[in-house]
Symmetry: C2
Subunit: 115 residues, 2 copies
């Protein structure tokens, strides 16, 4: 857990999600419901994090309670990642960002996240 740099809600959000990848991992979990580790790698052309960054960000999201990590039911060497209820609470934040981006950043597409 990071030491808080302030009590501002926005600052604390950025301490948890202020990077290039954490919210993309959350987006994929909203879109696909559950993912194995390797599923995150080819997010789309040019969008893939390095495996080191992905592992760090996934662990961070699990440690913070937004993502659940459980053993794969049919392959004990793999793990399944899903959103926790705490993670699901981020849906309106992600959807607001996505809708804003689609409107204000030229040439981008939007998606509707399932609740």
């Amino acid at each position: 857990m990071q030491k808080k740099r302030s009590l501002c809600a926005l600052t604390n959000f950025l301490d948890q999600f202020g990077d290039k990848w954490s919210l993309l991992i959350m987006r994929d979990l909203f879109l696909y419901k559950s993912r194995e580790y390797g599923d995150f790698l080819p997010l789309s052309v040019g969008e893939s994090p390095s495996t080191n960054i992905l592992a760090t960000r996934l662990k961070h999201l699990v440690d913070l309670g937004y993502v659940s990590k459980k053993k794969h039911p049919r392959d004990g060497k793999k793990y399944i990642y899903t959103l926790t209820n705490k993670g699901k609470s981020l849906r309106p934040v992600l959807q607001t960002i996505i809708d804003w981006g689609g409107e204000h950043i030229n040439g981008t597409y939007t998606k509707t996240l399932r609740s």
Copy 2:
């Protein structure tokens, strides 16, 4: 301008704002309307960026058209930073994040941004 890593609206948002400071600079411009460079430094205890990071992030926001940089009317050596209309469009995004943080990250306070 960064090369786009994908056409996803969320990815593009993160390419522009996915760091620890850019949205805090935007927050201060919503709260205080106009700021001189030095005004951003003592944001609050523990929250101040290094001057190098601040200068980089401010230039980035000016280059992207979210923040306007104009000569100070009474001191030609200083600049005044204000939100452009494009910058003001971020208000619902910031407010959604702030409200979410206040509800889901323990011990944080929220503010209402003026439009």
